[in-house]
Amino acid sequence: MKTKHFGADIIIWLAAAVALFPVIFIAANSLMGQDEIISRYSPEILASNTGDFSSHNIRFVRFGLLPERVTLEQYRRLLLESPGYLRMFWNSVIIVVPVLLGQCLLAPLAAYGLENIRWKYKEAIYFTYIIVMLMPTQLLLVPNFLVAGWLNIRSSYLAIILPALFHPLGVFLVRQQLKSFPKECVEAAALDGAGVFRTYRSVVRPNLNSTVAALAVLLFADNWNIVDQAVVFIDKTYQNPLSVYLGNVVSEEPGMFFAVSVFYLIPALLVFLFGQEHLTEGIALSGVKA
């Protein structure tokens, strides 16, 4: 019996190692110099890598985690000499922050409203929300694209921000949580003479904090990794969020890619660590009878 548990432990830790390995790889490689990156991974046979394994006239990668010489050269070039990348990082921030703030304000409000209104078709509203939530991004982009044309915001960030702000995921998650919310608390507040808004602000909303935190982590992960929407709406390179442009960095400036990646990854990891205890709850909530 004991060995069996041990086996499960090993499998999970192996899986955890697989999950973490790519991140460790880019972090380790971000401490290498530009020359080392090129000598390690270029398919061409160069003066610096003639000893490496090659076959069919292509040179193979020299995979590794330990830099021959530890240097912050990549970071120095990123922070001091690459205003373009910093600008794109800032573009990502401009898109993520309003979406996050808007969702965290509107989603609990709407979910609480939906839970309490009395109308025989209110579940139809909720069902519509769920259907929208389940549709692929490229499909939702069609209505987003049409509205953006009508409002004349097609080449502005608003075309990405506004639909993301109203995406039904938030309302869905909070409502799942509200279904198990103790009605007695609300009734007690009402008996004490608190109005509807007062009850929401001081009784309901504080109890939804962990769900809203889970929502924030999920939304951040999604919108910090925005690709599809930017490909459709953004036509000038420098206006792209960095999430899209990272693909170009690989081919254009491989010697700097790892620092740019780590730089872009840090906010996501921070938000993740900050909200990790709520994240599992958030995902579990999305599974309670979707």
């Binding site: 432990d9 955890a16 409203g113 509807v196 990794n225 999430s243 993740f272």
Partner: protein, 284 residues
């Protein structure tokens, strides 16, 4: 208190207006574009655009690739997640830090680790190097199914942990006494899995199935990062087909394709919902 419920509409209103304005109304309106020939003449052509899309070989290719991808990564992802969540349940200590590590891929931006996958899977990558060094055949790297296999691996790495948490949250609801009862009756681990875990996990399994299908459409990010806006035809997906319509600004083609996709996805969702209802009814 009951008479005041109208005020709750005020809570819902901002969100409802937003969803109507950015999703529902334009989508309903887009059926107009789907039924005309072009924006200049605006001749009504009925289902002409739909027929043209369905006859377009690119559309067929994209639909085929998308189905193949879903058919590969949904069952693989679900099986892997179920296995790992069962291991997680058996774990004695360190479950919290292990789960944390497993969840990291969920927040890693697809672009941040694209170089890692290239170093692993490219023509001069680590995998092929090891194959050649050990004297094994490297033929399959050149086959058309190779890029699809790479995508499945990349996708599983990022998305399995979501399913693990879903399965895990279903597993903790199964009372331990059910297993003890089975053990008393002399049932082995496999019997216990089939008659307790599998049965009581079935509602969760449908949620995982649903979310897996939904998430599998998100693979566009990874394809775009690894192969750029014009990937080879082996991984040309419906998402790329839609994207081409955006680039060419051909609203009639775009909207008719969107409706075809909408019907297809709705059909899948309906099927999953139906199946779920039938199975849960059978067990209750």
């Amino acid at each position: 208190m009951k008479k005041h419920t109208h005020i709750y509409w005020l809570f819902l209103l901002p969100s409802l207006l937003g969803v109507m304005m950015f999703y529902i109304i334009p989508f309903i309106f887009s059926i107009y574009y789907a039924l005309i020939d072009n924006l200049g003449d605006s001749h009504f052509v009925g289902l002409g655009n739909f027929a043209a899309a369905l006859k377009n070989p690119l559309f067929g290719q994209a639909a085929g690739n998308t189905l193949l991808f879903i058919g590969l990564c949904v069952p693989l992802g679900m099986a892997l997640a179920l296995f790992l969540s069962l291991c997680l349940q058996k774990m004695r200590r360190g479950r919290v830090p292990a789960t944390l590590a497993l969840l990291v891929p969920l927040v890693v931006p697809s672009g941040s680790i694209v170089y890692f996958w290239k170093v692993l899977f490219d023509q001069n990558g680590l995998l092929r190097k090891l194959l050649l060094q050990t004297g094994l055949s490297d033929e399959f790297v050149f086959q058309s199914s190779w890029t699809m296999a790479v995508l499945v691996v990349v996708f599983l790495w990022k998305n399995v942990s979501y399913n693990i948490v879903l399965f895990w949250s279903g597993l903790v609801w199964i009372p331990r006494t059910y297993y003890e009862q089975m053990a008393l009756e002399g049932a082995g681990a496999w019997r216990q899995f089939l008659s307790v875990t599998w049965v009581y996990l079935s509602p969760t399994t449908f949620v995982v199935l649903l979310m897996s299908v939904v998430n599998s459409f998100k693979v566009f990010k990874e394809i775009y990062m690894l192969y750029g806006p014009y990937p080879s035809t082996d991984i040309y997906m419906l998402q790329h087909y839609m994207n081409n319509q955006f680039q060419s600004l051909s609203l009639p083609q775009m909207c008719s394709a969107a409706y075809i996709l909408f019907l297809a996805v709705s059909l899948v969702l309906l099927l999953v919902f139906r199946l779920q209802k039938r199975v849960t009814d059978a067990y209750q």
